[in-house]
């Protein structure tokens, strides 16, 4: 039982934590973000597995995580209002080449992040070439270029 309870607790804790930490935390992966992710997964594993290295324990922990994940996805399907609470909503940060400073400050995104995404996805050179820039729920920034 403890394997399942621990699995549930860690899943829920991480779910709430990353909603609080903000979506940019793991959205754009620098080398440091990657290392941070590895360390977090290591700490999570220690908490869930403990010192029980049996296959039974491993399977129960994994099933509890995946099972809860499936459960939440079914719940989101039946109650769409859960989507905004669990995943968040997209946010428009740049309109017609003009960044919305207040929203960018609140979401801790600066112009360089947006320009990086614009270069990466569309090879754009300047902020004026961006029609809309959207901070998506997965932490990525999607860019809609102005029609030439």
């Amino acid at each position: 039982m403890d394997a399942i309870v621990r699995g549930f607790m860690m899943y829920l804790f991480l779910l709430v934590l990353f909603r609080i930490a903000g979506r940019r935390t793991l959205g754009q992966m620098t080398n440091f973000d990657f290392v941070l992710l590895l360390i977090i997964s290591e700490a999570t594993q220690n908490a869930m597995i403990g010192n029980d290295f049996s296959v039974t324990n491993g399977i129960l922990v994994i099933l509890s995580l995946v099972g809860l994940d499936i459960g939440f996805s079914l719940l989101k399907q039946r109650f769409p209002v859960l989507n905004r609470h669990l995943d968040g909503l997209p946010l428009v940060l740049v309109e017609q080449g003009r960044p919305v400073q207040a929203l960018m400050r609140k979401s801790r995104v600066d112009e360089q992040d947006i320009l990086f995404s614009a270069r990466e996805k569309h090879g754009l050179e300047r902020m004026e070439q961006i029609k809309y820039a959207v901070l998506e729920t997965n932490g990525g920034i999607s860019i809609i270029p102005k029609a030439e």
Partner: protein, 121 residues
């Protein structure tokens, strides 16, 4: 347009959809009947997961207060608390409660059967 008709399923969700392919001019290896069978299998799998988790929460996999049970000697001097279900390559907690008949100081010895200890390694 020729539509493939598949009669191998009775699921009411796709009662209106008897096609075996979606886009006819798309070079794609899709197969709707297979997809529907797969989704049914997936839902069966979800129930299996739910049953396993329920069984674990009820104590069928050990390490659970409900799966602990006791055995006692005739005269009540030795009480053994152990887990009904064990896990391979994992610790198993066995608690021995000794109630001596004489209130004297000294040592007590516990004997373990080799048949019991041998498989434990």
């Amino acid at each position: 347009m020729l539509l493939g008709v598949s009669l191998s399923f009775i699921d009411e969700e796709i009662a209106h959809d008897f096609r075996s392919h979606m886009a006819n001019d798309l070079e794609i290896q899709d197969d709707l009947p297979f997809q529907h069978r797969h989704w049914r299998l997936q839902r069966v799998g979800w129930w299996v997961i739910a049953c396993i988790l329920a069984a674990g929460l009820l104590g069928l996999f050990g390490h659970h207060p409900l799966s602990r049970t006791t055995a006692q000697t005739q005269d009540g001097t030795l009480l053994v608390t152990y887990d009904r279900f064990g896990r391979a390559t994992s610790d198993a907690e066995v608690i021995l409660t000794v109630t001596p008949t004489e209130q004297e100081e000294g040592t007590f010895r516990v004997w373990f059967d080799s048949d019991y200890l041998e498989p434990c390694g």
